[in-house]
Amino acid sequence: MNYNDLTRKYFESAANAGELQGPGVFRGAAGDHAQGTWVQFDLQIKAGTVAAARFLAFGCPHTIAVAAWLADQAVGGRPQPVLQESVQALRERFAVPVEKTGRLLVIEDAWLAAVLPAIDYREGTHIVTG
């Protein structure tokens, strides 16, 4: 399997891998280890923007790279009820084979599961632990 430079870069660094805890953290996950793809996002919201973002991903290099990129891009922006780019655009950006589109949909589901409750968040009303 060949990967483009962006996929290799984010797969190899995976700089934002991890979890967040505390006030203003919203967590969403989708997929299943047993099915080969599982993704989780943690978003920390402060003053209406994403102050920090982390991800965990069990999956192929494309899955890890796209999740890492989304977490990277999210910081500083307002939580939106969509991905920063469409699944199709992500597929092209990371040269994801069409057969792997389902894995991008898992990422989208995890992202939406994290971000949707965060959109109307007001400080002090939501805490994630553990």
Binding site: F11, G18, G36, W38, Q40, A57, F58
Partner: protein
């Protein structure tokens, strides 16, 4: 270049073999067609071919005239399976093989199935071993062939071919074909003692050139009064190789295989013990990483192959992470974007995820302790990182 631990896939050509092949290729007297009996050039080439035939025969305990050259083990398997099936088609159309065979056996069997033959696929135990009684139970009056490998190419386990050969001989109608591509130079192999009727050999697994192999065809006539195994040719055109495999023989390839087999037969017990020690070092290093499962029997296997599955990581990511540093085979067949888990490991009862996250380490003559330690370090680093990214171990 990454550390090469994929000797079960192929081996580098032994320098003495390469040198001899180059001599033949550039010679002004050894380039003749071995089938040209009308002049001395042909005689010289034919003599080289026959010397190589004797070298291969001696290395595997066969008679010289039992060796038929092919382009490799895949062609030898095809010739054995289709050749027997076609020749004995009026006597029976049932074949016994195993789910863990190489594709070069399974695909011909599936093609025969498509043409109306019936195939019984034996399932090994969780260690990858067949009980010879499974073969006995699968034999039917219309069984014409049993095709089983000696050493499994993915997990390295060694089947009890001699016991299976005895069962086939008692049956009287089932010929035994053995794919021994992984055996030569790695474990004792003596065709005459094996009880097999047909045996496939490969050159490039034994530090010889790619593109040449052989099918050993038993010429023993005293096998329970059933005579000698007969084959229908699958290739026509010049009557070479006793009309079983037509085509001009590639002299340089053949002499390369001959010398490679001669050298392999001289591998000392010291070298075998050295490789076995390296495999133990590798296994202990990997096992210490935690969540590492060994695939296949540890006791009934060649010392050159170690197959392990890793918990908590996805297979494609594992191979992508180690690929720059380590050349090994993965448990997935990445022939498409979506990898398929190893059917061999699945047959052993491994789940889909663990089958995908498996690696086959193939050790060889040039493998050193430093290579093994580097491999363990590479896998350790990849495993730790991917498990952290997957959340299957705490993030530091």
């Amino acid at each position: 270049m990454p550390v090469y631990l994929d000797h079960a896939a192929t081996t580098p050509v032994e320098p003495r073999v390469a040198a001899r092949m180059a001599e033949v290729l550039s010679s002004e007297t050894e380039f003749g067609n071995p089938a040209s009996s009308s002049h001395g050039y042909g005689d010289v080439a034919a003599a080289l071919v026959e010397t190589a035939r004797a070298q291969v025969a001696a290395a595997v305990g066969a008679a010289v005239h039992e060796i038929v050259w092919t382009s490799g083990a895949t062609e030898a398997n095809n010739l054995a399976i289709f050749g027997v099936a076609q020749y004995y088609r009026e006597r029976g159309r049932h074949i016994v093989t195993a789910r863990t065979e190489h594709k070069a056996v399974l695909d011909p069997c599936r093609e025969l199935e498509r043409r109306g033959w019936q195939i019984s696929y034996l399932v090994p135990d969780r260690e990858g071993l067949l009980d010879p009684s499974q073969v006995a139970a699968a034999l039917r009056p219309d069984t014409v062939l049993v095709s089983l490998m000696h050493v499994n190419n993915e997990i390295g386990v060694v089947q009890d071919i001699a016991a299976i050969g005895a069962i086939c001989a008692r049956h009287g109608g089932a010929w035994l074909h053995v794919d021994a591509a992984q055996s030569v130079g790695k474990c004792p192999l003596h065709f005459a003692s094996l009880g097999a009727d047909l045996m496939s050999l490969s050159s490039h697994k034994v530090y010889g050139p790619k593109g040449v192999g052989a099918l050993v065809i038993s010429q023993r006539a005293d096998l329970g009064g059933r005579g000698r195994v007969q084959l229908s040719a699958q290739q026509f055109g010049g009557g070479q190789e006793r009309a079983l495999r037509a085509g001009t023989l590639p002299t340089h390839q053949v002499i390369g295989m001959g010398l490679a087999f001669e050298l392999a037969s001289k591998i000392s017990s010291v070298e075998t013990a050295r490789v076995a020690h390296l495999r133990q070092r590798l296994w202990h290093g990997l096992a210490a990483l935690g969540g590492v499962l060994r695939n296949g029997s540890a006791t009934r296997s060649v010392p050159h192959i170690l197959n392990v599955s890793f918990e908590g990581v996805e297979g494609e990511s594992l191979i992508a992470a180690i690929r720059p540093y380590l050349a090994v085979s993965t448990g997935s067949a990445c022939t498409s974007a979506a990898a398929e888990p190893s059917y061999v490991l699945r047959a052993l009862g491994r789940g889909e995820r663990l089958s995908e996250s498996s690696l086959r380490f193939g050790l060889g003559r040039t493998t050193t302790e430093e290579d093994i330690d580097a491999a363990v370090a590479t896998v350790s680093q990849a495993l730790n990182r991917l498990r952290q990214v997957a959340g299957t171990t705490p993030v530091a």
